[in-house]
Symmetry: C2
Subunit: 309 residues, 2 copies
C-alpha cells in the first residue's frame, strides 16, 4: 500500500488526465449549481431566468479553480463548494449584464440566446441582480466547517472582485475604450486585470482561504491567478480573431467591429501568443513548492493557452 | 443624577422630538455614506455614478431604522453603521435599476435626474451592480465588535431580502402586474411584501441581530417591520394619487398611467388610509415591552403614515 501511495505521489504532469479531471469537476459543480438555485413555485419567472443562464453550460473554470486550490492546500471540496457555486453565479451575472443592449448587445452566449433575448431586458437585469445577491447569501448561509471569520474574509474578497474595483470597474474601462483602437498596452492590461483577472484571482484566493492558507500561499497563488487571468484574456482576444462563432458559442470578430484595442491589434498575433505562454510559464513556476498536489492547477494553466473556445 | 436618569426613562412619546432625531441620524448616515464610497482616482466614472445616486438625499429611513433598532436593544450605533450604509447602498441600487428604461423608465428620482439620464444606461446598470457588491463587502470588512457568526447571519438575511425572494422577486411580480388593474389584493400584498417590505424588515432584523437580539425580539420586530413596510407602500400608493411631482421628487400619477392596481384603486383612498393606520397601530403594539427605548421606532412608525413624500 505504501508503494501505491508513493507511486501516486510521484505522478508527473504527463500522467495527469486533465480531461477526466475537468469532466468530473464540471459534473460536481453543475450538480451543486442545480441544487443551489432550484426552480421556484413562488417566483417562477425570475428563477427560470437565473437558471437559464447559470445552467447553460460553459467550462466552469472559475468554480473548478476554486475547488482545485482548496484541495491542493489540504481542504476538502465540501468546504469550497458554496463559494465555487457563488463564483459561477457572479460570473453568470456579469455575462448577463454585459450582454444587454445597453452594453455589448450580444445575442448569443455559450451557444444559446442571451438572457434578455429570451426573457426581456427587465428580467435579465433582475436575474443578474438576483444571482449577485444570492452568491453572498449562499456563501454566508451554506459554508460549513470553516471559521466564520474566514468566511467573512472570503465574502469581502469576492465582493471586492465583483464590484467597482473589480469586474464592474473593468467593464466601465472596457466600455470607455470602445472606438479607441490606439489605447496603450498598460490601459488594456488595466481593463483585463479588473474585468477578467479580479474574479479569476478570487477563485484561487478564496479557495486558498477556505483551506486555511498562509499569507505566503495567498501571495504565490494571487500571482498564479493574475497571470492565468491575463493569459486567459489574451487568448480570448486571439480567439476573437481566429475562431468562428460555432467554435466560440458567441459572436466572433466583435473586437474589430467595435474598434477595440486588443492584444493582437497592439502586439500582433504571434507576440500575443508568446506573451500568453510566458505568463503561463510564470504562473506554473509559482506552484513549485506544492509538488504533485498542484497537478490540477498546473494543467489548468496549460489548458488556458491551448483552449479553442 | 438618579432623578435625571429616571426623568429620561419616563420620557413619553409626546416629549420625543422625532424631527431632531431624524435630522441627527440622517447626518450621521450621510457622513458615513460619504466616507464609505469615496471618489476614486483609479475608477473615477463608476464611483461618481455610484455617489451621484447614493448621496442624492432621501429620507435615509432604512439605515435609520437599522440604527434605531440596534440602539433600542442596547447596541451602539458603531455596531450597526456598516450594515446601515449597506442597506442604503442596496436600496439605491434597486432604485437605479428600477428607473432604467427597460423597467419603470423614470427620469426623476429624489428631485434629480435619474442615474441613467446622467451617466447612460450602461453605467447605471454597472453602478447598481457595484453598489450591491460593495454592500456585502462593506459589512464583511467593516463590522467591528460583533461576532463573525452574527455578521454572517446579517449578510445572509440581507442578501435574501435583496434577491429573488425579496426586492428582485417583488419587482418581477410588479412588472408582471402592469396593465392588469384587476389583480387581487393578495397579489398586490405579495408584490409589496417582497418589493418594499423585505428590505424594510431587513433593516430592523439586521439591526436587532447586530445588537444580539433574542429569537423573541426578532419575531416581534419582524412583525413590526412587515407592518410598517406594507403601510409605507400603501402611503406610497396614496401619495402617487394625491401628491405632485414637486412634493414627491419623482414622477407622480405613474400607477394610473401604467394601469397598475394599487391600494387606492382596489380599496379606495379612505379605506387605504385606514388600513395603513391599522397596520401602524399593530406595529407599535409589538414594541410595548421595550418601554421608552422604543420611542424612535414608535415615532418612525407614526411618521410613515403622516409623511408627504
Amino acid at each position: 500500500m505504501v508503494t501505491t501511495d508513493e507511486q501516486t505521489t510521484a505522478t508527473t504532469s504527463l500522467d495527469f488526465d486533465l480531461a477526466a479531471y475537468l469532466k468530473a469537476k464540471k459534473l460536481q459543480v453543475e450538480t451543486a449549481l442545480d441544487r443551489a438555485v432550484p426552480a421556484s413555485r413562488e417566483f417562477p419567472k425570475i428563477y427560470e431566468a437565473m437558471r437559464y443562464s447559470l445552467l447553460a453550460g460553459g467550462k466552469r473554470l472559475r468554480p473548478i479553480l476554486c475547488l482545485a486550490t482548496c484541495e491542493m492546500l489540504g481542504g476538502t471540496a465540501d468546504l469550497a463548494i458554496p463559494t465555487a457555486c457563488a463564483l459561477e453565479m457572479i460570473h453568470t451575472m456579469s455575462l448577463i449584464h454585459d450582454d444587454l443592449p445597453a452594453m455589448d448587445n450580444d445575442d448569443y452566449r455559450r451557444g444559446k440566446l442571451t438572457n434578455h433575448k429570451v426573457y426581456g431586458e427587465d428580467i435579465a437585469i433582475l436575474a443578474g441582480d438576483g444571482l449577485l445577491a444570492y452568491a453572498f447569501e449562499y456563501i454566508a448561509a451554506q459554508t460549513a466547517e470553516v471559521s466564520p471569520q474566514r468566511v467573512l474574509q472570503v465574502i469581502a474578497y469576492l465582493a471586492k472582485a465583483s464590484g467597482a474595483m473589480g469586474i464592474v470597474g473593468g467593464q466601465v474601462a472596457d466600455l470607455e475604450s470602445e472606438g479607441k483602437p490606439d489605447i496603450s498596452l498598460d490601459r488594456l492590461e488595466f481593463i483585463h486585470v479588473h474585468k477578467t483577472g479580479a474574479l479569476l484571482a478570487a477563485c484561487v484566493v478564496c479557495g486558498a482561504m477556505l483551506a486555511g492558507a498562509t499569507e505566503e500561499d495567498v501571495q504565490k497563488l494571487t500571482q498564479y491567478a493574475q497571470n492565468i487571468g491575463l493569459a486567459f484574456q489574451i487568448i480570448d482576444d486571439i480567439l476573437d480573431v481566429t475562431a468562428t462563432r460555432e467554435e466560440l458559442g458567441k459572436t466572433a470578430g466583435k473586437d474589430a467591429a467595435a474598434q477595440k484595442a486588443t492584444y493582437p491589434s497592439l502586439l500582433g498575433l504571434e507576440a500575443s501568443q508568446q506573451k500568453a505562454d510566458r505568463l503561463i510559464a510564470e504562473a506554473i513556476a509559482q506552484l513549485k513548492d506544492y509538488g504533485t498536489k498542484a497537478e490540477p492547477l498546473r494543467a489548468l494553466a496549460g489548458f488556458i493557452t491551448s483552449r479553442k473556445n
